[in-house]
């Protein structure tokens, strides 16, 4: 009877995981510490808006020339919403899980980016990197949307017209990319007032 039990134990083996003496087997897609790629980040703030516990924050520095992206791992709930919304794939939940610290300051990580100022009013309105990224994306969307790799053979007249529309939109967006939201709104308002009589509309 006893022998049978020992045989059973031997057959089953040790069920306890080896960690911390051996590396832990993590499942694929494990959501550990969010790792931030500084060079890919454009400091757009999408992650800060999406973060449910406000672990990620974006703030202008007091000198108004930099915007600081900061994460507090102590507040993070590892939901992965930041990874989901990031337009440049700059944030990814890694499989790093050893996060315990002796002091609370060690849970904080931050990164400061230069800020772009509005060409009209001079107020800081977005990170310079984001503006640069948007400019390049718009240039690509305007210039290259019609000639996709597989469609070199048959571009019809309709798609050429559509691409001309896209190009006009892109040109309009690019012309106002240096303005802050308020100045852009005012600009649009002024343009609308100017064009209203020509289109038969009444000025209010």
């Amino acid at each position: 009877m006893m022998l049978k039990l020992f045989k059973e134990i031997r057959k089953t083996g040790c069920g306890t995981v080896g960690y911390p003496y051996a590396p832990l087997d993590l499942p694929k897609g494990y959501r550990g510490k969010p790792s931030h790629l500084e060079e890919a980040c454009i400091a757009c703030g999408a992650c800060a808006v999406a973060c449910p516990p406000n672990a990620i924050s974006m703030e202008l520095t007091s000198s108004q020339d930099q915007i600081t992206w900061a994460i507090n791992y102590g507040r993070c709930v590892f939901c992965g919403r930041c990874e989901e919304v990031c337009p440049t794939f700059a944030i990814k939940l890694s499989d790093e899980f050893e996060l315990a610290v002796m002091s609370k300051e060690d849970l904080e990580e931050s990164c400061a980016y230069p800020v772009a100022t509005c060409a009209c009013c001079g107020k800081p309105y977005a990170s310079a990197k984001e503006i640069d990224y948007a400019r390049r994306v718009l240039a690509r969307a305007g210039g290259a949307s019609a000639d996709a790799p597989a469609a070199a053979s048959g571009a019809s007249a309709a798609s050429t017209a559509a691409s001309a529309d896209v190009a006009a939109d892109v040109a309009a967006s690019l012309s106002k990319i240096d303005l802050c939201l308020e100045c852009r709104r005012r600009d649009d308002g002024v343009a609308a007032v100017r064009h209203a009589p020509a289109q038969g509309g009444a000025l209010c």
Partner: protein
């Protein structure tokens, strides 16, 4: 939110327990090397019980914290280590302090979980203090929502001086003029967005991204016969579910580009 919208003088602030010099000295010695097994008492200060489940996971046979002499005890009077879970609700402040004072000195206080560390997702709730360190001197913070048993064992190892902490505060300042790389520069932006959107709607953002990356990687590499290469990619995919998603992405590509 509350902290930001009301002046601090109008808000009641809890007075944290301050250690006297002798106890602090004994505690420093304890933290450096405890050289014996430790008894742990768990204090729930208004958590969701996720942290408790993980603590029980840690002391089961699979993770077996008792290998390291870590034992959970039912009374603070037997405890060397106090684990505080939860965001410390106003009602639980007094019981938390009673448990703290009931434990013999020197004792180690561990803040467990995102709520224990900073208040977590409840940090701006009206009825919480937002973190154990607001009322007690905390020695080790174990973040996680909830921390997995492995994270818990690591946290204990840090608390008992067996392992070094890996995470350190960092501040990076980006130089002006650094450009963020465009992903898949050879694929038209709108085609890329359409493919990523379709992949995400079919497989979720994480696996969808993996599949879209694979697909866009083939498009980005170019070559004379891109459609042929896409077909080959679908052909050699062993998982039928992934193959179906890849076929749907091919459909999007055809609709976007060829039509």
């Amino acid at each position: 939110m509350l902290e930001a919208s009301f002046p601090a003088a109008l808000q009641h602030q809890p007075d944290p327990v301050v250690l006297d010099a002798k106890v602090a000295e004994a505690k420093a010695k304890l933290l450096e090397s405890i050289k014996r097994s430790v008894c742990v008492y768990r204090v729930d200060c208004g958590g969701c019980n996720g942290c408790e489940i993980e603590i029980f996971g840690t002391i089961t046979a699979a993770f077996d914290a008792e290998r390291f002499g870590i034992k959970v005890v039912p009374s603070p009077r037997h405890a060397d280590v106090l684990i505080y879970t939860g965001a410390v609700t106003r009602a639980m402040r007094m019981p938390a302090l009673r448990a703290y004072h009931a434990a013999p000195d020197p004792k180690i206080v561990v803040s467990y979980g995102a709520c224990g560390c900073t208040g977590g997702i409840f940090h701006d709730n009206y009825c919480v203090w937002g973190g154990t360190d607001k009322i007690l001197p905390v020695d080790v913070f174990i973040p996680g929502c909830p921390p997995t048993p492995a994270q818990t064992i690591y946290g204990f190892a840090v608390a008992l001086g067996l392992l070094e902490q890996k995470l350190h505060a960092s501040h990076h300042v980006e130089e002006p003029g650094v450009a963020a790389p465009l992903a898949f520069p050879e694929v038209p932006y709108k085609v890329r967005v359409a493919i990523e959107r379709e992949a995400r709607s079919l497989s979720g953002y994480r696996w969808g991204k993996e599949i879209a990356d694979e697909f866009l990687g083939v498009l980005d590499a170019g070559g004379a016969d891109v459609l042929g290469e896409v077909d080959a990619l679908i052909e050699r995919e062993p998982d039928p579910r992934r193959a179906e998603v890849l076929a749907a992405l091919r459909g999007v590509l055809m609709a976007k580009v060829v039509a």
